[in-house]
């Protein structure tokens, strides 16, 4: 028997409860809206935000004078000509306010003894600009603080374990969402005056990633199906020094960056030689090479046969005295010891790992997509970081865009009046029963991840990208039209089906855009077109669904206003 439909109604529905989703819920509630904050897993604990161990970049000027325009200049330089200057400016200009707001909420930014907030200098920034919470606790502290504020908001209803599968559209406007309860499989329809998508990134598409299981690009797929456009999908950021070996448990693989900028670790090839500058970089005493260039250097070294045994580079802190290690990283040193890692005596192996996605859903400055009623926040937004993101900009982006999207959505919901439910064909998929799967869908997801890593990773060729598209099409045929089994409690097989459905669509979007862009820029490196080609390619590529198929388009880049640049100079 089919489960009865659970119906909910709200002014603003926020999908996803990372920094962006929680910031949006807070600002929408402050603007007077009733908010439903839904997450496919635990509220505030399931995405990238809680895993971020490092820093948040903002021009606070607490170490040395700074201005958001300097931050903007660095952001735009790192973006390799593709930043949407308006969105990047919003992040840099409004970032400090969000950091102070969190400070007022006692997030615990690391401070000097005289009370000044500490700021570290991360690669690509022209001065110390990155605030953090010791030790490697930035993301957890931000998530916990925001969650604490959300809990105090009487008008925010939180629902965990609610998987959002579709955004019904009526008369061209998004009307809410449909999905199902993970705990028991019950179908759910939510009527909402406005929806904020804050579902995070898509790096789960890749075999080696820093993602959580909830980061397969659901929001990108939801937005596409609702009629919105994606942009810059080809730009997937690989974090150059992701932990590779020995196996490390209880710590995220991207933890080595703060070690490098606090202690200056040395990146070595199999011959024990520093090699990053062999690739046209100029790294001196300060660790300053951006992520796209460092990734390129490491993988080139591996290809040349000078990689570490596990297929990466060595990262060594053997020159750093033990007392300094302990002072800088305290309890983290013990956690490493539990994993058999003694940094005073051994180098670890590191390699690029899928980490962040610069592309996403195309929005205006109010964070609204081209579909009225549909807003986006956080990593799911395209444009602020162009072709390569600066370290520390993602949490700033999540906080700033979250606040904006929440405010805009509250206004929209108020204008829309009481929300009424709209139908969705996806509800039939959610409620229906089918025979058990013949294909191991968890295995199929792993297959897709391997395919993406091999063919749509940091180095790309037309041939490989075409192979990837063929592989994606084959997996889609194998996936079939309906989820296996029947609705029930915590059915991972069914969840795998919905996940793979979204992941295939989003993987196809990334691959299609990567194949079309016949140049190399930032995080998109084509072996067959190794040079950057500003004359032909200083533009965004967009993707939308037309009659069920992905269609590529182009959009001009919003250049920085001359006045901004001059003031900086």
């Amino acid at each position: 028997m089919a489960e009865p439909l659970v119906e909910l109604e709200t002014d603003v529905l926020v999908v996803g409860s990372g920094a962006a989703g929680m910031a949006a819920a807070l600002s929408a509630a402050e603007a007077g809206a009733r908010v439903l904050l839904a997450d496919r897993s635990l509220v505030g604990r399931s995405g990238a935000t809680v895993m971020a161990q490092m820093t948040v970049a903002v021009a606070l000027g607490s170490e040395q004078p700074d201005h958001w325009e300097h931050h903007l200049a660095d952001t735009i330089a790192a973006g390799r000509g593709l930043c949407d200057a308006d969105l990047a400016e919003i992040v840099c200009r409004e970032g400090p306010e969000e950091i102070r707001r969190l400070d007022g909420w006692k997030v615990g930014w690391a401070r000097h003894e005289d009370g000044r907030i500490r700021q570290a200098q991360a690669p690509g920034h022209d001065r110390p600009r990155c605030v953090y919470v010791d030790f490697l606790s930035t993301g957890p502290a931000v998530a916990k603080t925001l969650r604490g504020r959300v809990l105090r908001q009487e008008t925010v209803t939180r629902v965990g374990d609610l998987y959002v599968a579709d955004l019904p559209v009526r008369d061209g406007t998004v009307r809410g969402a449909v999905g199902f309860s993970m705990a028991d499989g019950r179908p759910v329809a939510i009527a909402a005056g406005a929806v904020v998508l804050a579902t995070g990134g898509l790096t789960r598409l890749y075999r080696r990633n820093s993602a959580s299981a909830n980061m397969g690009g659901d929001g990108h797929a939801l937005a596409l199906r609702a009629g919105a456009e994606l942009m810059d999908m080809e730009f997937v950021q690989f974090f150059p020094i992701g932990h590779l070996a020995p196996r490390l448990v209880g710590m995220d693989p991207i933890m080595w960056d703060p070690f490098r900028y606090k202690l200056g670790g040395r990146l070595l090839n199999a011959e024990g030689r520093e090699f990053v500058n062999d690739y046209g970089n100029e790294e001196g005493a300060v660790y300053n090479v951006t992520r796209d260039k460092a990734t390129h250097a490491i993988l080139s070294e591996v290809q040349a046969g000078r990689g570490s045994p596990a297929g990466g580079a060595f990262l060594s802190f053997e020159h750093v005295p033990e007392a300094r290690l302990r002072e800088a990283f305290g309890p983290v040193i013990d956690r490493l010891a539990k994993n058999g890692i003694d940094l005073t005596r051994m180098a670890v192996e590191v390699a690029p790992i899928a980490h962040y996605h610069m592309g996403g859903v195309r929005v205006d400055a109010a964070m609204e997509t081209r579909v009225p009623g549909l807003f986006v926040a956080g990593e799911t937004v395209a444009g602020a970081n162009g072709a390569n993101r600066l370290s520390g900009n993602a949490i700033t982006e999540a906080l700033v865009f979250g606040r904006r999207a929440g405010e805009s959505a509250a206004r929209r919901a108020e204008a829309a009046g009481r929300a009424r439910p709209a139908g969705s064909e996806t509800l039939e998929l959610i409620r229906g029963s089918s025979p058990a799967a013949e294909l191991n869908l968890a295995g199929a997801i792993a297959e897709l991840q391997a395919l993406m890593a091999e063919q749509v990773g940091p180095f790309r060729t037309a041939e490989g990208l075409e192979q990837a598209l063929a592989g994606i099409a084959a997996l889609r045929r194998a996936l079939g039209e309906r989820p296996p089994g029947a609705p029930g409690p915590y059915d991972l097989g069914r969840l795998d089906w919905f996940d793979l459905r979204s992941m295939l669509l989003v993987a196809e979007a990334v691959t299609t855009a990567a194949l079309a862009r016949r140049e190399s820029r930032g995080a998109h490196q084509r072996d067959d077109f190794p040079l950057m080609d500003d004359a032909a390619w200083r533009l965004h590529q967009t993707l939308s669904l037309k009659d069920g198929a992905l269609a590529l388009g182009r959009a001009p880049v919003q250049a920085p206003r001359a006045a901004d640049i001059e003031e900086v100079a």
């Binding site: 909910l8 604990r45 809680v50 705990a183 196996r247 209880g250 995220d252 693989p253 409690p489 991972l492």
Partner: protein, 125 residues
């Protein structure tokens, strides 16, 4: 150290909510792996029906993967896989949903709570 003659394996005996008999799986063992690595291997290669809850995989931040491992409560993502038989059970003091998954969301973040709130009055038009 001499290399072992055969590839060592971890033998996972999983007691699953809703099933009388435990499921037994043999997974290849590499030193340093976590129990969660083993369970994810099972799902992708042996039995995709096995339910285990996790988000973060490595970072130990989501705190969703807590189960009983050889009788002791711990995180599947930080407990080491070992080349021997290991017994895995769901948490003892929580409602079992499926296999190793229990209801761990706070009561006021569950669907029924939202339904109750959504039904009870809203903004007047």
């Amino acid at each position: 150290m001499t290399a072992p003659a055969e590839t060592p394996t971890a033998r996972l005996v999983v007691h699953r909510t809703g099933r009388e008999e435990a499921s037994r799986y043999e997974v290849p063992y590499t030193p340093g792996q976590s129990v969660l690595d083993g369970l994810r291997y099972v799902r992708a290669n042996l039995d995709p029906s096995l339910a285990i809850r996790h988000s973060c995989i490595n970072a130990n931040t989501c705190k969703e993967c807590m189960i009983r491992i050889d009788g002791t409560v711990g995180y599947a993502c930080t407990a080491r896989l070992e080349p021997r038989e290991m017994e895995l059970r769901p948490l003892p003091n929580k409602t079992g949903l499926r296999d190793l998954v229990t209801e761990i969301g706070p009561p006021d973040e569950r669907l029924d709570h939202a339904v109750a709130r959504s039904g009870g009055g809203g903004r007047e038009d």
